[in-house]
Subunit: 298 residues, 2 copies
């Protein structure tokens, strides 16, 4: 197998996603301008675009192409961004910085930040239907909306955030920490891969396989995040390192130690790569992405 | 035409909607319980269920039946409830009471209130796809999701709320007030009727006609709301009367006077009834609902 150029792949995919987001988000001066500026401020802050790139990789794994899944890919990024805006609010994690810039509510005020988050979540569901304008299959459209809603709602991301908030400052078990990570972070990463595969016509078996890979990938991603929060610097992370400890958040390293955390992340990434073996050469980008999740420094 | 028994109709429809909401909302003790309790606290607080009843009436106007549109009807109520929870937050309207009970954040705290609102919005989009499980037409499903998203997002309800918040304490024009009312309130009422008609197989002309009726009905609803806020008592409204004036919110009576506001509401309701004349006897409930919107005391 020829060497896969991940940096070039990431750059190209990010370019596709950024251009699509630019197209799908109303311009800054669309009335009422404040909320559209606030939405763009956070979405265009230059994230890694991991979730949209996973939607594309999920489609590619079953033989699809980026073009048909770009609206859905952007929908995943909008849901991710809305969750960051709401999580950063004073009533939640009370964060002042995100991706090296002031958080949304520090710039636009709490009311607009709440509404910008609400609007991004709403727009995400609209975008997803754009995707399937080309699919014309009610079953696929329904499956994709259900996938997104379950991953984002109380059985997924919101559920994880609730338990995370309720656990602050408390001693929690390893099971509770895994619940938080699997729901708050992994659910949306899992959904990214599944949505990509669903839209590209993957069958039930393929969607299930890629979903299990996604759940492990998501958990590994969060464990690495926890490790970086202990080790990283403000410069690399764009947020204050050690913020989890300051907020008395339970993390993998706090509960299991740094070395065991690194080992667990490595084991999960190995399992991700095994799980996507069924897709053969089509999963080359996905395997490279799995390594990237493990080795990233920010 | 035989007399239409509106009170009996409302009671029966509310019963249908309440039973469906009970079915669609996760039980109180579903993990994580706090957020599910918070969702149920506000949804089951006994609202008028106007929007779901309008979804049903919209379906009936084009020959549909309640059964097929109940999930979508509930979706509209969830979106309405999420907007109330977020609007009541300290960063927004800072209200302590709603429907005669403490507001969501007064009971569950701000973090859970924000997340319960997020979760209700998310669940609404999931429910809508349930509806069309019976329709099996990707075009209808797409149209309904787009309808909901546009009515709830920055081109609808959220847009109206943004301008409402930014206008507090300022002298605003009649045009701005109409923008706020048409977006913050009327957009979702319009969408309720259109979604009902869409799901029941209404053609483009029928959906357009009922949508225009819905926009007028929504504006009339908000004008009556403004009038009730001036005139009503805490007992009847379940919230503190005069709260708009205290918050320096522009209202129809403040800008146009009580008598002109009443005249405008009456004119709009007459126009609603004319607009739905094309549906003949099938619009009998809708015409009665229009009168109810005008004459209600709470």
């Amino acid at each position: 197998m020829s060497a896969f150029d991940l940096p070039a792949y990431l750059t190209e995919r990010r370019g596709l996603v950024d251009a699509a987001l630019e197209r799908f988000l109303p311009p800054d001066d669309t009335p009422p301008p404040t909320v559209h500026r606030a939405m763009r401020y956070s979405v265009m802050a230059g994230g890694k675009r991991l979730r949209p790139i996973l939607v594309i990789a999920g489609a590619e794994a079953v033989g699809g192409t980026p073009g048909t899944v770009l609206p859905a890919a952007c929908a995943l990024e909008l849901i991710h961004t809305y969750s960051l805006i709401h999580d950063d609010l004073p009533a939640m994690d009370d964060d002042d910085y995100r991706r090296g810039r002031l958080t949304n509510h520090k710039v636009f005020g709490e009311a607009i930040a709440i509404l910008a988050g609400d609007a991004l979540l709403t727009l995400a569901f609209r975008l997803v239907t754009d995707t399937t304008a080309r699919v014309n299959d009610a079953r696929v459209l329904r499956d994709v909306v259900v996938e997104l809603a379950d991953a984002a709602g109380t059985f997924g991301m919101v559920g994880g955030q609730v338990v995370d908030i309720e656990s602050e400052g408390k001693a929690i078990t390893a099971e509770t920490l895994e619940y938080i990570h699997r729901h708050k972070t992994a659910a949306l990463i899992r959904a990214s891969l599944r949505v990509g595969a669903l839209l590209a016509g993957g069958d039930a078996k393929a969607v299930a396989a890629i979903g299990e890979a996604g759940s492990d990938l998501g958990l590994a991603f969060q464990i690495v995040d926890d490790i970086l929060d202990v080790e990283g610097s403000l410069e690399e992370l764009g947020k204050t390192a050690g913020s989890d400890a300051r907020k008395q958040k339970a993390t993998y390293p706090a509960l299991h130690g740094l070395e065991a955390s690194r080992r667990q992340a490595r084991m999960l990434i190995e399992r991700v790569k095994q799980r996507v073996d069924v897709f053969g050469a089509r999963a080359v980008p996905l395997r490279a992405l799995a390594d990237y999740v493990l080795e990233r420094k920010s």
